[in-house]
């Protein structure tokens, strides 16, 4: 298997959301990602729903599985001196050390950057805490949802006049933070390749999210104008909204930037009116426009309407559920997005592939997520160079749990 990052090895102390997704991407791209965990204090995502057949179990979480494809797992008891020594020995065999703990945790374990860099000028170390390593709020605990609140994503997403709605997810964990962290790591790897020098990357998980909300921030800073949540409306299009269709909670999103697209949509829905022929006319009457479209599509099938409108060049999309994207989306199926991989406890389960294709390189996911400690002996032997007697002694002393 030849992935773009073949030969890169990562000591992965990340857990839960954004950190695990960062190293998943690198693992799917071919890096040897060794997840260092402990059965004494497991990654809480391992005990997060959903579970295969609804049965709670440390190796049964689909949420954990999807975030940890292509990785290996070693369990080390970092409360023991031997466990820490093994972690340091493992790090000595790695190019990158990654964590998303609150600041100070790695230092408490004796695995802080200043310690690890001794004699390792080429080590790359990434810390991705909520607020960064220092500052008045550095020690605040955070999750994607609270990061969404702190960064404006939550306040800016919703209907005017109602409490803000956000995305309904821990969005910063899934795209902004893993995306930026992976990019920074790949850039640091390039610098190391060219100079032999590693470095420390300090990423505050609030900051990539704010970077992805720049226009509202800059508008406030420059114009003194607070951007209010606008539902699904957009100043540059009318209509631009979702409309309820036939069936249970079925919706279609329609976006019309220009008069030609409007003419096509109006033709399909029987809504041609002279006062709506221009953008200005539609924009100034958008409530009535939305009501008319809603009435016209209420008994339509969302999928059939999307196809009909798309044939005329109108941007329309079914508001798909997770079940739709998994089972009924011909485009994602065509791209091979969903990968069924054998998991040792859950059986065959579905994983997200990376959302891109390479023509030449082979990219993963190559394997399902590891069981907790699945590769402990293998890594002790092949990476750390320990013999079976030593491994057994360490296991007997509760170091490998």
């Amino acid at each position: 298997m030849s992935g773009p990052l073949d030969g890169i090895r990562i000591a992965d102390f990340t857990w839960i959301g954004a950190g695990s997704y960062t190293t998943k991407m690198l693992a799917d791209l071919g890096a040897d990602v060794i997840k260092i965990e402990s059965s004494i204090h497991p990654d809480s995502l391992r005990l997060s729903a959903p579970f295969k057949d609804g049965k709670r179990g440390i190796d049964n979480s689909g949420y954990f599985a999807d975030r940890n494809s292509s990785k290996r797992s070693i369990t080390l008891n970092l409360k023991t001196a031997d466990g820490v020594a093994l972690a340091r020995k493992l790090i000595a065999c790695c190019d990158i050390v990654a964590n998303n703990f609150t600041p100070g945790t790695m230092e408490k374990l004796g695995l802080g950057y200043d310690t690890l860099r001794q004699g390792r000028e080429d080590l790359i170390f990434i810390a991705m805490s909520t607020h960064g390593s220092e500052g008045p709020e550095a020690k605040t605990v955070g999750y994607g949802l609270t990061i969404g609140a702190l960064t404006g994503l939550h306040a800016l997403s919703g209907l005017p006049g109602r409490e803000p709605a956000g995305t309904g997810t821990n969005y910063p964990d899934h795209i902004p933070n893993p995306g930026h962290a992976a990019f920074a790591l790949l850039a640091a790897l390039r610098h190391r390749r060219r100079t032999g020098r590693g470095q420390r990357i300090d990423m505050a998980q609030t900051e990539p999210m704010i970077a992805m909300l720049a226009p509202a921030i800059m508008r406030q800073a420059a114009n003194g104008i607070a951007t209010e949540p606008a539902g699904n409306r957009d100043p540059a299009a009318a209509p631009h909204n979702v409309y309820r269709c036939r069936g249970h909670d079925r919706w279609i999103a329609i976006s019309v930037p220009g008069d030609a697209e409007w003419a096509a949509l109006a033709g399909v829905l029987g809504l041609a009116r002279p006062e709506w022929a221009t953008f200005a006319g539609r924009k100034s009457d958008e409530d009535a426009l939305d009501d008319a479209i809603a009435a016209a599509v209420a008994e339509r099938d969302a999928g059939a309407l999307m196809a009909e409108l798309q044939a005329l060049g109108v941007a329309a999309g079914v508001v798909q559920t997770a079940k739709d994207v998994l089972l009924d989306d011909p485009q994602l199926a065509h791209l091979g997005h969903w990968r069924r991989l054998p998991h040792k406890v859950m059986g065959e389960v579905t994983f997200n592939a990376l959302p891109f294709r390479f023509t030449r390189a082979s990219i993963g996911p190559h394997a399902a997520s590891p069981l907790i400690g699945e590769h402990t002996a293998e890594i002790c032997r092949d990476v750390l160079g320990l013999d079976d007697t030593r491994i057994e002694a360490l296991a007997a002393a509760d170091v490998l749990k």
Partner: protein, 409 residues
């Protein structure tokens, strides 16, 4: 004496950015780490120059905040790819580039003569990354799309919005930006190979597929437990987890945390220490039971007790209490509050940028690299600002066929 600027991690990389709003953020990520990124525009400029909001609420090709932000750090060239001269100039630049990022409709560059074979014949190590709404091939490949319809088809839109009302999209064209971000990651991975083995690659990025990565555990719920996750705005996701009104706005609270109840006991202690009326009930064991927490009765009880407490306090007071007690609690911050954040100020996050010649605070480094700091080197280019300079730049092949130079406008 000013300190010498450390070279960026991507110094020496040459990037051609032939994208619009689907890909401009990708190029920015490269530019801010030191790559020489050239934004290639048609004579009328890219469409994102016409995208608001604008400086002073007045439209203008250099006044859009999104354009100014996403293209800061780049140089700009105008090439008319409808003309042979423009195509020749692009061919010359592409022969020198490490990365070409484009977001044309599938097949567009090929029809202009830039298929993979031609590009690689001139530059075997070139990485070409194509960002489109749905990918280069497939039943939706030629579908019309914008950010809203991509969020819809990607499944994220369904999860946002209110339990009792319509799905609502995330602010900020997140589908476009997700596509840009994954394109940047994929491109860097391919550059890693190109620089070590001399062989380029072609990358096909689908924005819809990028959005799917944001579905959290919703797909796994559908597959493993046969349940369809829905939006819950306006309600608690479970008792103690959600948005709560307070004296000056809203906060987000996760009293139970994710996957564990480790925060609940701290929350109970907080309420007890504050002698919050009714909070003794939180000590009952049912509050550690996930099934109970999902009941309307539990949510109503929680809202009644905590809601009253929160309404008498500010976002800042509640946030400080959450920090001290290590409970995930955050203010639903507005842009004005974010610009005033002491934590972001401590980190020097906002930097002076430039929009149409005026200094405007912009988000700065999304990551601090100790050896190769992030740096926004220049304002977004005015239309064609660097056309002559780039065509005369030996790094971009200026000593090669001179005819291409006249392609400048």
């Amino acid at each position: 004496m000013t300190e010498p600027v450390a070279p960026g991690a991507l110094a020496g990389l040459k990037v051609l950015d032939l994208t619009g709003e689907l890909g401009n953020y990708c190029g920015k990520l490269f530019a801010d780490l030191g790559a020489d990124v050239v934004l290639v525009e048609p004579p009328e400029g890219i469409a994102s120059r016409r995208r608001g909001p604008f400086l002073g609420e007045t439209a203008g090709p250099d006044r859009g905040f999104a354009f100014a932000y996403m293209n800061a750090g780049k140089r700009g060239i105008v090439l008319d790819l409808g003309e042979a001269e423009g195509r020749a100039a692009l061919a010359r630049l592409a022969a020198r580039a490490d990365l070409l990022v484009e977001s044309f409709a599938p097949g567009t560059l090929e029809r202009l003569g830039f298929d993979d074979a031609a590009l690689w014949a001139a530059n075997p190590a070139l990485v070409r990354t194509s960002i489109t709404p749905f990918g280069q091939t497939g039943p939706f490949a030629h579908y019309a799309a914008d950010d809203l319809t991509l969020l819809a088809l990607g499944g994220l839109l369904y999860l946002g919005g209110y339990k009792d009302d319509l799905p609502v999209a995330a602010y900020g064209e997140q589908a476009y930006q997700a596509a840009s971000l994954f394109a940047a990651v994929a491109s860097m991975a391919a550059i890693h190979v190109a620089e070590t083995k001399g062989q380029g690659d072609r990358i096909d990025v689908s924005a819809q597929e990028a959005v799917v990565m944001a579905l959290e555990n919703a797909v796994q719920f559908a597959e493993l437990e046969g349940t369809v996750r829905t939006r819950y705005g306006g309600d608690q996701r479970q008792a103690g987890a959600g948005v709560f009104a307070c004296r000056d706005g809203h906060i987000v609270l996760l009293a139970g945390g994710i996957g564990a109840n480790r925060f609940w006991l701290r929350f109970v202690e907080w309420m007890a220490d504050e002698a919050v009326p009714g909070s003794a009930t939180f000590a009952a064991p049912e509050w550690l039971d996930a099934a109970f927490l999902k009941t309307p009765a539990a949510k109503a009880t929680f809202l009644d007790i905590f809601g009253r407490y929160a309404m008498a306090r500010t976002k800042a007071e509640l946030y400080a209490a959450g920090r001290v007690r290590k409970i995930p609690l955050a203010p639903v911050a507005t842009p004005a509050e974010i610009l005033d954040s002491p934590q972001l100020a401590y980190r020097g996050f906002f930097v002076p940028g430039s929009v149409d010649g005026r200094t405007v605070a912009m988000p700065g480094a999304p990551y601090m690299l100790s050896e190769t700091p992030w740096r926004m080197a220049r304002p977004a280019p005015r239309l064609g600002e660097h056309t002559a300079a780039i065509l005369a730049d030996p790094a971009w092949g200026a000593d090669e066929p001179r005819a291409a130079r006249s392609a400048a406008r």
